[in-house]
Symmetry: C2
Subunit: 427 residues, 2 copies
């Protein structure tokens, strides 16, 4: 087993070491050949003779030699990240097994794991219990046609659009729960914000007195995640020249209606009465909250009943609107959540109203048929958070192996036949 990493050579100057890694590049100066040897911790320059000429980039090698300090005038603290990866998005993804090896690409997923870890750690500190949600499910939870069917023996089942129903069932045993899971949406369009498979960070809490307690939990969580990323990902943030968004002392809240009024006042675009905000609207509201409230986050609340799933709790004071919210940051929805209906009959009625069969929701309804306390919860998309922290242009860059309607690993479109012919002669 490999004993030391490249970064450990700093403490071994003058000693003989054996290093293992990949050839990053080769510079041939006739008698002397330089090889940049890469491993997961960095690059070491290896000085060798003509034999090194036989090497190619990405060859795996081991070398033995004495560690020398780099002459002070040649030290380049940005060596690891000086090269940008100037490729188009399809190339970046069609060659993912290679592009992942680039330190700047690797950095994205280092940040993502810090976000996920920090979510897990914080939820535990808040007294939430982790569980594993099932992904093959008997029902459509979020409504709509955006669901993938699975050929499952002779039954109709789907890939879970969210762990929503299972989070709620779990409350009966654990009161406060969270899960790091996968959610699937059969989005029939290709946008910069959507993936068909994404990492969902989900939480649910029972015995709330007010739905504001859910927003408070989100605020405390986001504050903690941002602090952790800022502290643990200094080098990665530097590579992207990125700053973690600031969480103001109290995140401002706007009702959807108020947000629409504001947009009308600022831009004269009249979207009052629309059931939701468009991407342009979300950008405008984020601009407003930054300019007027010095905050990069804003809660939009009270979406209309028609735009939210069947389990969303109506606002008792205004039953056509719901106790629901989105948290926006840098023009994108980061978190969505709200209070849920905890009355059995109301849920059965809504499932029918949404055109589904209550029997497909049997385990879920069971949890409410007896007793369930007032409750609510929320979910975060790990890719979107990573994207927006680093200022990436497309959510796909923040997914290790992004899936959309035209891509599962390599692009599935016809013109990728080229790749197929080249590599396998159409075998």
């Amino acid at each position: 087993m490999k004993k030391i990493y490249n970064e450990d050579t700093i403490d071994k100057i003058g000693e003989e070491v054996e290093l293992f890694g990949w050839v990053q590049n080769i510079r041939d100066h006739k008698k002397i050949v330089f090889v940049d040897l890469r491993d997961r911790t960095g690059i070491v320059q290896v000085v060798g003779d003509e034999k090194f000429r036989k090497l190619s980039p990405e060859d795996v090698i081991s070398v033995k030699g004495v560690v020398k300090e780099r002459p002070k005038n040649l030290v380049n603290p940005k060596l690891m990240s000086k090269d940008d990866l100037n490729v188009t998005l399809p190339t970046l993804l069609d060659y993912r097994a290679l592009t992942l090896r680039h330190p700047k690409v690797r950095a994205i997923f280092e940040v993502q794991e810090v976000v996920i870890d920090s979510f897990r750690k914080t939820m535990k500190e808040f007294g939430f219990v982790e569980f594993q949600a099932p992904l093959i499910v008997p029902s459509k939870t979020e409504g709509g046609a955006e669901v993938f069917a699975v050929k499952y023996f002779h039954y109709d089942v789907y890939l879970g659009q969210s762990p929503q129903l299972y989070k709620q069932i779990m409350l009966g045993a654990f009161e406060k729960v969270f899960t790091v899971t996968r959610a699937f949406r059969a989005e029939p369009s290709v946008t910069t914000r959507h993936l068909t498979e994404y990492i969902s960070l989900d939480a649910e809490m029972a015995f709330i007195d007010s739905w504001q307690e859910i927003l408070e939990a989100v605020e405390a969580l986001i504050r903690k995640i941002m602090e952790t990323v800022e502290e643990s990902c200094k080098e990665q943030l530097r590579m992207y020249n990125a700053k973690v968004p600031k969480v103001s002392k109290k995140i401002p809240q706007l009702k959807l209606k108020e947000a629409q009024e504001l947009i009308y006042k600022r831009t004269k675009r009249d979207i009052r009465g629309e059931p939701d905000l468009s991407p342009t609207d979300e950008e405008e509201i984020c601009k407003w909250v930054f300019e007027e409230k010095s905050s990069e986050f804003v809660f939009i609340t009270h979406y209309p009943l028609e735009k939210r799933p069947f389990y969303t709790h109506p606002d008792p004071k205004d039953p056509n609107h719901t106790l629901s919210f989105d948290l926006l940051c840098r023009g994108l929805e980061w978190v969505t959540g709200g209070q849920r209906i905890n009355d059995y009959n109301h849920l059965v009625e809504n499932i029918k109203k949404w055109g589904d069969a209550p029997y497909d929701f049997e385990l879920y309804l069971q949890a409410f048929r007896f007793g369930m306390p007032p409750e609510g919860g929320f979910c975060l998309g790990a890719e979107r958070i990573t994207e927006k922290i680093l200022g990436l242009a497309n959510v796909r860059e923040a997914s290790l192996f992004p899936r959309d309607m035209e891509r599962v690993d390599v692009g599935r479109a016809k013109n990728n036949l080229e790749l197929r012919v080249k590599n396998y002669e159409l075998n």
Copy 2:
């Protein structure tokens, strides 16, 4: 928000508190009515008057009152778990939303989360990096027909049988990786050991000198998980009268052939030459290793080429057998792993030999087309480990929402129509 849990009342004797929870049961003594109030931390007996008679089991209530110490002669330290849940497996699972609330059922999943957490923590200590594997995949990784197809726009895709290929791709960037993920197997049979969806704890390591380093990593990991469960789950183990399996100083290793010889000698059943061990064989070998080597774990190694997936490294000394292993404990396979082929041409050849199209493995092959070091890895099934630690009879008991060919949430068989009629009058 609920401020204190039932267990906190121990420190509040003589104080007035407000408790929130579920009615476990009601004992009516005319003027006095006793209610056992349950929350996630335990049960508190509440003494009330006739008004309590209106309550039903599983009602959610809050009560205010003064905390009194239980008279010493009535203290029952096993109160939480004295009631067993005497129901059949189909009932246990068809009423999962309710049965989960039973402390003894809840305990199973508390143990499972300790297993998963301990896996994560230990792999990080060993220098492995966590990543999120995709679940919608373009290829069958483990061969065979045991794969679920997903209706995915106009492409043929599947649910991942394992994160194998992605673990290997990730090595190029991170050298040592792990993932807590889901694996899907379209097992067409209903046994006590199989689920169609299970929690896979997966790891992969590059730059190995010998495949024995993989077995060493497994041994150290299992030792750590067992120690952690023993230390953190005392109450849960007591409920099940269970003992964590002992990991001997060095886990014995047997080649498959040697195991078969042993079974023949001990039982006169001649299974020599079979390509794999049957469940009965696995039980016999576990018996042997316990009796003869005082170990509850045993590695079986060198399975024949034909029984292992295309990526398995052949044994250079005996190319019809592989550098692969299973770790058995208490009659069941807990871990499977081995060294992988890291030569591009060999992989392409094998994919064709297994009847698949290399193009469907493009990203994977890309990782090897340039350079990939010697490497290997392993995976653990979280449900099986939980099952065997607690001595459960069926792996389904160790899955929160088990899926098999006849069950997704509630049983899908025709006779469950009864439940449907009863609850929804066939709406």
